[in-house]
Symmetry: none
Subunit: 260 residues, 2 copies
């Protein structure tokens, strides 16, 4: 009975959540890749494209390669920072081949797709984040994302074209909408109220300020501490209320100091 | 026992069968699509490309888009009929969006991938067959193939670029090599050094002590804070070194208080 209701709910519209998943391209060099990305997105039902400092956009080449997906190009948001591109998102999935630098686990598209779809169906906004063609995402860019995904490739030739990578990821997401018994598993998931990107960034600023104040962060040798703490707390997938608690602790730490 | 043999057989070389799966492009109009197809194939470990009457090949555009996969273009077989392209194969998988014309069942890439990999591992040769960009495979061409596959797309915009379709299919094949019960995907996992239960418990004790000291935890109403923080940090799956850092911060918090 319950199962029947769930089934009806998504009948014919299992993919309605896909527009809540935006594609973010950072510092793309070739406009053709932007056009091909738009086409790849549209075939899989995604609509929102963010471009961080593209080298050339708008562009005739991009429009030509988008084929009939140029509506996505016309609605694309050109922004100048990762923070703008991620605003409002609660989950940021970065494509990378880097394995060692960060301690977040590295997942395959297939492993991560169900949790992305679950979040989107719960009304969350999600970003899929792709770096520049040759260099990929920088360590700084990666550190602003909550999750890392890698496409399993031939170890002797792993150079996927940018729009091909977008195609694989978005294909997994669309396929995931129809798969799994996730509808049945949904009741096992708790209601979550995840912190936004902006709330997390304010928390990290506050944290750094207090680390300096209590002398744990040396102003002349600050290198590794903040990135490490950032990764730890991003991995924890903090809820809005938990960020409030942690900031309360930070506040108490410094106020405590003022009273002798 | 049988499972054990399989595991040894493919240990470290689960994808060795992929070169037995050839890609056949029929009547391709744009040489760029041939180049992008070569690149897509190589990233997924396929090597054999057959071209039936390509409009323009060899081509500089194809070579440029193949990037470092031009070895696949150099070894490509240009033939003049489907029969030549399929010679030696025992399974021919045709990509199509046509649903009504033929009575073979239409499968998704995910559904058909395991049987392709099983056949390849049994020493068979298999063809993945793709038609011309605008029109796709003809009824005649389809009738020469043993299986039909379709990529699930947005019903309002199903126009996948040719090389994107090749990417999705070959990605499914490579992924399928590691799935099933054959082997584990462990090599994708990073080395982690997780904190022990005991280390976590010592951290929580330390945390509670400092929360009391800075006045954030009220001794007479301590109820909900510690369980909440405990869940948060357990969810973060802390590493040994991260626990050390966090305890360092706690120590700095209280020591800071002693001097002023």
């Amino acid at each position: 009975m319950n199962k029947e209701i769930n089934k009806n709910l998504y009948q014919g519209d299992e993919t309605a959540c896909l527009p809540q998943i935006r594609v973010v391209l950072s510092h793309t060099s070739h406009p053709g890749n932007i056009g091909s990305t738009a086409r790849a997105m549209k075939t899989m039902g995604l609509t929102e494209l963010y471009l961080i400092n593209p080298k050339e956009f708008p562009s005739e080449v991009a429009t030509a390669l988008a084929s009939s997906a140029d509506d996505i190009l016309q609605n694309a948001k050109v922004v100048s920072s990762m923070a703008e591109a991620l605003a409002g998102t609660t989950m940021q999935v970065a494509l990378t081949a880097r394995r060692r630098e960060l301690s977040q686990p590295l997942q395959t598209p297939r492993q991560i797709a169900p949790s992305i779809i679950r979040s989107a169906r719960a009304g969350q906004e999600i970003a899929l984040v792709f770096g520049a063609e040759t260099s990929g995402l920088t360590i700084d860019e990666l550190s602003m994302c909550s999750d890392r995904v890698t496409i399993p490739t031939n170890p002797h030739y792993s150079s996927l074209n940018l729009s091909q990578a977008v195609q694989v990821l978005t294909y997994e997401l669309r396929t995931s909408c129809f798969e799994a018994d996730w509808v049945d598993v949904q009741h096992l998931e708790e209601e979550r109220d995840p912190a936004t990107h902006e709330a997390m960034e304010r928390f990290f600023e506050h944290l750094e300020e207090v680390m300096l104040k209590i002398g744990f962060l040396r102003p002349h040798a600050p290198k590794r501490l903040m990135p490490r703490l950032r990764r730890l707390f991003i991995r924890a997938e903090l809820e809005r209320e938990e960020v409030d608690i942690l900031r309360g602790i930070l506040k108490a730490t410094t106020e405590f100091d003022r009273k002798p």
